[in-house]
């Protein structure tokens, strides 16, 4: 019996290794910092020195140099909430609200509980040009509740508890003992909690994958993916949007109040680069 069980597990593992990975949204490869990271992992000491230099430039008021140094770290493939927060603050002080909002959103993706990034993002939005009429607070509250959920830990606990629960159930069925059934039920209950946490985190993750920020100073949102189509409205830098589709150099965006339009792909930038989401371009 054990041999059969092990054989099943091995077969499932082999199938998983060979199965193609799900890719719900395709991203252009040229904005995949994860790809660069694979090529050249930075030396820790060098990154730290570069970060210190960027901080010194920021504190001295040399914002262009600070921004360039932070960007260089990103080019090296460093993913850090502190780096994104500092870069966001640099761009905000330079008056580049779109890029500031983008990097602060990225900081919050990496570290949802980062209070500094959240405060700076609020400061960025305070000066935003676009005021969305009819924007519901529910979306923001939804994001706030789901974003700090420990999805990774939850999924691992789910996997372990679930497997343990079934193992104990099998033991109870074939060689009944007094403790097997209660332990199995407890493991099932733990699995349920872990499944809820994982589901919440997965929902937030899927939403986060489609979030983007307008980085162009102003861009018209058109009726279709062409320059010749009529303009519906205009969005300005720093506005958070959701990417719904992509075609012919245009992206279909949806605003928090439901407005939908097509904008040039370069005018908006994804909050979560594909490399971070574990997707290939």
């Amino acid at each position: 019996m054990r041999r059969i069980f092990l054989a099943v597990l091995l077969a499932a593992g082999a199938a998983a290794a060979q199965a193609p990975r799900a890719d719900p949204l395709r991203f252009p490869a040229d904005i995949d910092p994860g790809a660069r990271r694979k090529d050249a992992a930075p030396d820790g000491a060098r990154s730290s020195a570069l970060f210190d230099g960027a901080n010194a430039a920021y504190l001295a008021g040399d914002l262009p140099r600070a921004g360039a140094s932070y960007e260089a770290l990103l080019q090296e493939g460093v993913a850090s909430a502190e780096l994104e927060t500092n870069l966001g603050a640099t761009y905000l002080r330079e008056g580049k609200r779109g890029l500031a909002a983008l990097h602060l959103e990225r900081a919050l993706f990496l570290e949802p509980g980062d209070d500094d990034a959240r405060a700076d993002l609020l400061e960025t939005r305070r000066a935003a040009v676009d005021r969305l009429e009819g924007e519901t607070e529910g979306r923001e509250a939804f994001s706030r509740v789901l974003s700090p959920l420990p999805g990774r830990a939850g999924s691992i606990v789910l996997l372990v508890a679930w497997t343990l629960a079934w193992g104990l159930l099998a033991a109870h069925l074939f060689k009944p003992a007094r403790l097997f059934l209660p332990l199995s039920l407890a493991a099932f209950a733990l699995s349920l909690v872990a499944a809820l946490v994982t589901a919440g985190a997965a929902t937030w993750h899927s939403v986060a994958l489609r979030r983007a920020v307008v980085v162009a100073q102003a861009t018209p949102a058109r009726e279709g993916p062409s320059e010749r189509t009529a303009t519906h409205f205009e969005v300005h830098e720093g506005t958070l949007v959701r990417i719904e589709d992509e075609e012919a150099g245009f992206r279909r965006i949806k605003l928090a109040n439901g407005l939908v339009g097509w904008v040039p792909a370069a005018a908006v930038e994804l909050v979560v680069p594909p490399g971070w989401a574990g997707q290939s371009g």
């Binding site: 990154s47 850090s80 400061e123 999924s155 497997t163 079934w166 193992g167 099998a170 069925l173 989401a277």
Partner: protein
């Protein structure tokens, strides 16, 4: 006949004679101010009619103007009395001015003007005019940029040459092109149109670099203010009015404003858009006089200002706060004003001051009030004097510096009543407002950005492995139970076959001439094996009586049992006391064995 009567007769005769002559004395003349006109320009037609009558006017009938649009008409009359050779001649002169705009390029004709006078009709000669294209006309005129000083006060002064060239124009004006530094110059932006205007779009006002700018009027909708300019009616719309306060001396150019003008209404009438730009304006900002400038003068203090102070209450106890107000009021840029500060007053503790500004517009001029409010707490009793405050200003109206000052204020402080607190709770001085940019982070912590486990391909199979394995285990157990067979039952089912096999083995021994003890042993094994497998009776441990009883108890026939016991006895006898082999007897023994096996297999029948 009296002398008076004679004079009247003479006058009547004279008038009759003049009347008889009147028809011949009617003069009519039509002329234009030019024989060429731009297609977007205006042509002035003047019709001069002179009739010899003081009382009866002539009826001037204008033609249909097939080649022109009539955009304006005015008429005036004057009476002239002439004395010539002792005779009195009375003439009435009717002047009709008509403004025309051409309908097309090329040759155009002004049809004859008809005049009716005392039943007779007169007409002028037709006038031929050449209508030029707009660009051609511009070349002929020679494009001359507008002079920066062409309009000082009247915003529409000097526009005659431009109006002839345009039906729709954007006009920027400044009421004062040579202001002092800090003196207000009012910038106005007008839209002038001869046709209908339904709206404007994309109005771009200049940046006003070099000025402190304050909005005076920003109309949210177009308000038509009709104007007649050189006899042509225009619709004038004020778009913006700004107060400009120059920041430094020298020539400063205000860039052109731009706007898209919409005409037509909705879907019924075609809606079109025309882009218009105003002319640039150069302002020559005058420096403030240096020679007479007071040493403490601040450059922001330009305007007509008054300064006043107040303290409330004027009588307080020690430790009770009073409010000190310093108010500057007047005409000028209140937001750039620098007011004097109240210094340290002996016996008074001063707290941080708060400043509030109010501004308004009076007759196109920006006026304002700056109030500095300060909390003062007396620390000793007696008369305390808040000294006079002064500041130097430059008054552009007087073109001179002035010093304005406040009156000193006396504050009477008496001792606090017993039981009252010496001081009152004062507002916090260090107000820490939330917001602003957070300080940067100094330590770098890298974050793992790998894909979450649930997006990995192994996750879901791994999750499914547990229930799948349990399902496999349960299924395999059921299958095993399904296909399991009882070996005892199997042996029972196969007992006769096995016994027959042994009998056949014994028969084979006969063929091999091994018909001795082995033969009988094989027959006995076949029968006892059958008894053990099928009947569950181990014959080896039983006496013949016990064996018989067991078989009878299982319902076998007595004869069969006896035959079986007989065969077993015979086999034992031959095995342990061998003799000469009798093949016939042996075959008979085999046949009996077969028969007994058959009978034992069906106990019911045998028993019956």
């Amino acid at each position: 006949m009296s002398r008076r009567t004679g004079s009247a007769v003479l006058l009547f005769v004279g008038l009759c004679a003049a009347g008889a002559r009147a028809a011949d004395d009617v003069q009519i003349h039509a002329s234009t101010d030019a024989d060429e006109v731009a297609v977007d320009g205006t042509l002035n037609l003047q019709v001069l009619v002179t009739v010899p009558s003081a009382s009866q006017g002539a009826d001037v009938q204008l033609p249909d103007f097939k080649d022109f649009d009539l955009v304006g008409r005015s008429q005036s009359e004057q009476t002239t009395i002439e004395f010539s050779n002792g005779a009195q001649n009375i003439y009435r002169r009717i002047v009709t001015n008509v403004a025309l705009t051409p309908r097309h390029e090329g040759s155009a004709t002004i049809e004859p003007v008809r005049v009716s006078y005392r039943g007779r009709s007169y007409q002028t000669q037709p006038i031929n005019v050449r209508v030029l294209g707009a660009a051609q006309a511009q070349r002929r005129r020679g494009a001359t940029p507008p002079s920066p000083r062409e309009s000082e006060d009247d915003p529409f002064q000097g526009m005659a040459t431009q109006i002839g060239a345009r039906d729709l124009m954007l006009r920027a004006t400044v009421d004062n092109k040579v202001p002092y530094v800090g003196e207000q110059a009012t910038y106005s932006l007008y839209l002038l149109a001869r046709g209908g205007v339904s709206g404007i779009d994309k109005l771009q006002v200049p940046k006003f670099d070099g000025f402190w700018s304050e909005a005076l009027e920003e109309p949210q909708q177009l308000v038509n203010e009709p104007r007649i300019i050189d006899g042509i009616p225009y619709s004038s719309f004020l778009l913006r009015k700004r107060a400009l306060f120059p920041l430094r001396p020298g020539k400063v150019e205000i860039e052109p404003a731009e706007v898209d003008v919409l005409s037509g209404f909705g879907m019924l009438f075609s809606r079109s858009s025309a882009h218009r730009a105003s002319q640039p304006i150069i302002i020559d900002v005058q420096p403030l006089p240096v020679a007479t400038r007071p040493p403490a003068f601040d450059l922001g203090n330009v305007g007509s200002w008054t300064l006043s102070t107040s303290v409330e209450p004027l009588t307080v106890s020690v430790g009770q706060p009073v409010t000190f107000k310093l108010v500057a009021q007047g005409r000028g840029n209140v937001r750039d004003l620098r007011l004097p500060r109240l210094g340290q007053v002996p016996g008074l503790r001063a707290y941080d001051a708060t400043t509030t500004d109010k501004k308004s517009v009076e007759k196109g001029q920006l006026v304002g009030t700056r109030t500095i409010e300060q909390l003062l707490v007396p620390e000793r009793t007696g008369d305390l004097e808040i000294p006079s405050l002064s500041m130097d200003i430059f008054d552009p109206a007087q073109r001179a510096y002035r010093t304005i000052r406040t009156e000193p204020v006396r504050l009477l402080v008496h001792a606090a009543e017993p039981g009252t607190a010496a001081t009152v709770a004062l507002p916090a001085q260090n107000l820490l407002a939330a917001g602003g940019l957070r300080p940067i982070r100094l330590r770098l912590r890298e974050t793992a950005t790998s894909a979450p486990p649930w997006t990995e391909a192994w996750f879901w199979p791994a999750l499914a492995a547990g229930p799948f394995a349990v399902a496999i285990l349960i299924a395999s157990g059921r299958a095993r139970r399904l296909f399991w067979k009882d070996p005892r039952e199997l042996r029972m089912r196969r007992a006769r076959t096995a016994a027959q096999a042994r009998l056949r083995g014994a028969e084979a021994m006969l063929a091999d001439r091994r018909s001795g003890a082995e033969f009988y042993a094989e027959v006995a094994r076949g029968l006892t094996g059958y008894l053990a497998d099928k009947q569950g009776i181990v014959a080896a441990g039983l006496t013949r009586e016990e064996l018989s009883s067991a078989l009878l108890a299982r319902g076998h026939a007595n004869a069969t049992v006896r035959s079986l016991v007989g065969i077993l006895d015979q086999c034992d006898e031959r095995r342990f006391a061998p003799g000469a082999a009798d093949e016939r007897a042996q075959r008979s023994l085999l046949a009996d064995g077969e028969r007994i096996l058959a009978e034992l297999d069906r106990p019911g029948k045998d028993a019956a």
